[in-house]
């Protein structure tokens, strides 16, 4: 073990953010630290770097790095270790690079601060850039971060972390901000570096897929605890902890067969304040009994009183895609083109896209960031001017009278990507949900409260929440409100722009199921935008693949994913 964390506890503003974590990684080994947002992954990593934010401190345990306890070192001693023996790569590649210094300078700095001469450092900077596979490195060192692509920036960060050939490399969600295709590149890079230098790598992620692809060992974190750890393979194939299992089930993976409803982990991730003394998962665990809540389970590879005996991953209701009901398309879009900006700075975000959406059916749109998905979605709702024809129930947005537009809006609704931005912070949930009724005058005022109640039931939220404000709700709950708002006018089609990307893995499934139910029971048609292939495959009857504003391939989901034709689709699926 080059790095060994023992019984680490981290106290964040009086709350136990991390509680009794044990980790170890050997030279040349890649450890995957998996867990949902807020489970304590980043803090653990930061504590290893001795870089915990203000108000947060390690309250217990030890972090051994070749014999020394990092927690006992002084700041200056730690500084010696940082970047020299232990390197770190952060999540958002742009934010973590200084926009005002050239990439070369920033790389060189990593060396100079540890005693390298300027000249040598400058030369090495180019080498490093080349090492991480940035084309014609020698020239690019003079460029500024914003001149690099997302993937390249991430490579720069990695190069920076590797500058002094550290013995341990910590990577906190190194690929989360990147597109699938780019992700793959970064992961192989990490692997390669490990092979070449023999560094121990700790990859922090919330994506089981990554564990599967690159990790030798893995540890699953939940509510500040390590609930399960061991060799990646076994952990993925035969999870013993219910949470691990739940996590694996609730995430549809390309490999697995689609199902009608995803198995979900009920409830929401734990709140630090009210975490039971015992197993943090017990409140959401179907196997839990009193003991679980009271006494922390012993840790022997998995921390659970009732470990799963054998894998239950297979247990999924078999799924026969519902007969595509013969229904008239409500949305008809024919070679839609959207252009932002004027003249010189014009950006054609969507180029000649056609699609139709009918009640009871799901059209999936996938594509990397910037490929025009959201733009298309907004065009479909007549939110921005588009060339080509977009008709809703036979009427075109262009030249529709106010009254007509109102009618059209009753037919199509939208669910937005970020539940934090899509609710007006100043309006109570009641006001937000009441708005559709007010503007459409759907029912007499006195009936509205009852309707709202029904809506809340539909999206599975307690009625009292009507009087809360957005900031009093969790992400998942907000997104349910977003769905409820779109349901209010009883639309025939809902356009959902990455409705779950901003949500925790275990919550995603809940929202997806909600949409699935609406489709199958109410018969709403859904245009489902995502960049997670698994979701789309699992969820959609038909799938469109967008690339740089164009639809490069389309077809029934099962066909498209089994036998992709367009090269881009191929790489996409290969990468995932």
């Amino acid at each position: 073990m080059i790095l060994e964390v023992e019984d680490l506890a981290i106290n964040a503003r009086g709350l136990p953010a991390v509680d009794g974590v044990n980790l170890g990684v050997r030279p040349g080994e890649i450890l995957g630290l998996v867990g949902e947002s807020g489970s304590g992954k980043s803090l653990t990593a930061l504590s290893i770097m001795g870089m915990l934010p203000a108000g947060v401190r390690a309250s217990r345990g030890s972090i051994r790095f070749d014999g020394r306890d990092l927690l006992k070192l002084s700041q200056s001693e730690l500084r010696e270790v940082r970047g020299k023996d232990i390197g770190m790569v952060f999540q958002d590649p742009l934010a973590y690079l200084n926009p005002r210094l050239t990439v070369g300078d920033q790389l060189a700095e990593a060396l100079t601060v540890h005693g390298a001469s300027r000249g040598h450092a400058a030369g090495r900077a180019a080498e490093l850039l080349d090492l991480v596979g940035v084309p014609n490195a020698a020239a690019r060192v003079k460029d500024y971060p914003h001149q690099f692509s997302g993937g390249q920036r991430q490579r720069v960060l990695i190069a920076m972390a590797m500058a002094n050939e550290p013995r341990v490399l910590l990577a906190d969600e190194p690929t989360t901000a990147l597109d699938v295709t780019v992700q793959a590149g970064i992961l192989t890079l990490l692997k390669r570096l490990r092979d070449e230098t023999g560094t121990a790598v700790v990859i922090i992620t919330h994506d089981m897929g990554i564990v599967e692809q690159v990790c030798d060992t893995a540890a699953v974190m939940y509510g500040g605890h390590i609930v399960e750890h061991g060799p990646a393979r076994t952990l993925l194939t035969r999870p013993r902890h219910p949470y691990t299992a739940g996590l694996l089930r609730s995430v549809p993976r390309l490999a697995s067969e689609p199902v009608r409803r995803l198995p979900v982990i009920p409830g929401a991730p734990p709140d630090l304040a009210e975490r039971p003394p015992g197993c943090p998962f017990s409140p959401r665990c179907d196997r839990a009994d009193d003991r679980c809540g009271e006494r922390p389970p012993l840790d022997d590879g998995f921390a659970c009183w009732h470990p799963l005996s054998e894998t239950v991953l297979a247990v999924r209701e078999p799924y026969t895609p519902p007969e595509p009901r013969a229904s008239e398309p409500v949305i008809r879009a024919e070679n839609v083109t959207v252009t932002y900006g004027r003249r010189k700075r014009a950006v054609r975000a969507v180029k000649g896209v056609s699609l139709t959406a009918a009640p009871g059916q799901t059209v999936g749109i996938i594509g990397e960031s910037g490929s025009g998905k959201s733009t298309l979605a907004r065009a479909l709702l007549g939110l921005l001017p588009a060339a080509g024809t977009i008709t809703v129930a036979g009427r075109s947005w262009a030249g529709a009278s106010k009254a007509e537009q109102l009618a059209m809006r009753r037919a199509v609704q939208m669910v937005f990507q970020d539940p934090y931005l899509s609710l007006n912070p100043r309006l109570s949930i009641r006001d937000t949900l009441a708005e559709p009724y007010e503007v459409h005058g759907l029912c007499p005022a006195e009936e509205v409260p009852e309707r709202l109640g029904v809506l809340m039931d539909q999206v599975g939220l307690p009625r009292p929440f009507l009087d809360r404000y957005p900031y009093q709700l969790s992400g998942g709950q907000r997104q349910r409100i977003g769905v409820a708002r779109s349901l209010a006018v009883e639309p025939q089609i809902i356009v959902a722009d990455e409705p779950v990307s901003a949500l925790d893995v275990s919550v995603q499934a809940q929202i997806l199921n909600l949409l699935a139910d609406l489709r199958d029971e109410v018969g709403v048609g859904i245009v489902f935008i995502a960049h997670d292939l698994g979701l789309v495959r699992h969820f959609c009857d038909e799938t469109l693949v967008m690339y740089q504003g164009e639809v490069v391939e389309r077809g029934p989901s099962h066909r498209l994913f089994e036998a992709p034709e367009h090269p881009y689709t191929k790489t996409l699926i290969a990468a995932a």
Partner: protein
């Protein structure tokens, strides 16, 4: 990330030590201005033979150059300064926000209004004030007008920025998708959040208003005698700084206190805005 409704912000602002200090200062001054004269019961206009007399039982702060009671005048002075603030700043806020929004909503309008703001900013406060005071003869109206014109651009720009930011917010789109009319979207979703960021400017604007009033008085274009105002008293009093220091210094301190109070308050409010 999670935005807090404005009202809470103000309350929170009040809670921080700085904010509290500001609130207290202002409250005291307002009390002095409102209750002071009543308690004192001396007319600020009553002239007398003994000019520039030092503090005495009859005149706690002494008298000015024509034998009027300084304390009374100072208290009334605060009153008129507060009045100026309360009239001018909201006016400026309304006008500025209005123009700012117009600028944000209409393309050509935006251009023109930006230019107008640039011109207004081009004139230095003092000069603009002077010109205005001359055009409409000096006095309350002139001072208010000057302050309004000087303050409008800052409100305008703030409002415009806030508006543009709001328009790109997803909940604004969401409102449109559920079929809310443009007017409704603006009135219900955009404006409230805009006002929110505009109100944050209030305290600063008021502080400046007080300063401008004083600056105009300095060149004799402020509030006109016999009406007292802190500014006029400072400019008149600084003439007697050596024989009757209290004449200028007391208003100076009060004016400073007023500005200080407002500055502290605005600091606190802004801090709250950043936090949320």
């Amino acid at each position: 990330m999670t935005a807090i409704p404005a009202d809470r912000k103000w309350i929170r602002a009040g809670r921080s030590t700085k904010g509290l200090a500001g609130v207290i200062l202002i409250t005291l001054l307002v009390l002095a201005a409102v209750a002071g004269p009543l308690l004192l019961g001396v007319s600020p206009y009553e002239q007398g033979a003994d000019a520039l007399a030092g503090p005495s039982g009859a005149h706690l702060l002494g008298t000015d150059e024509v034998g009027r009671d300084l304390l009374a005048r100072t208290l009334y002075g605060i009153r008129s300064d507060l009045l100026i603030c309360l009239v001018a700043v909201p006016l400026a806020a309304l006008l500025g926000t209005g123009l700012g929004l117009l600028g944000g909503l209409t393309r050509w309008g935006g251009e023109v209004i930006q230019r107008v703001f640039d011109v207004l900013l081009g004139f230095h406060g003092v000069i603009l004030g002077m010109a205005i005071a001359l055009v409409i003869s000096p006095g309350f109206v002139a001072v208010v007008t000057a302050i309004v014109l000087i303050t409008v651009p800052s409100f305008g720009r703030q409002a415009r920025a806030a508006l543009l930011q709001q328009l790109s917010r997803e909940y604004v789109l969401a409102a449109t998708t559920v079929g809310a009319s443009k007017a409704r979207v603006l009135g219900r979703h955009v404006l409230p959040n805009v006002t929110d960021s505009v109100t944050a400017l209030f305290a600063v604007a008021m502080a400046n208003a007080v300063k401008i009033e004083g600056g105009l008085s300095l060149i004799g274009l402020g509030i006109q005698p016999p009406e007292p105002s802190l500014g006029t008293m400072i400019s008149a009093g600084s003439r007697y700084i050596q024989v009757a220091p209290q004449y200028a210094l007391v208003p100076v301190l009060l004016l400073a206190a007023l500005v200080l109070g407002l500055t502290l308050l605005s600091d606190a409010i802004n801090r709250e805005r950043l936090r949320s």
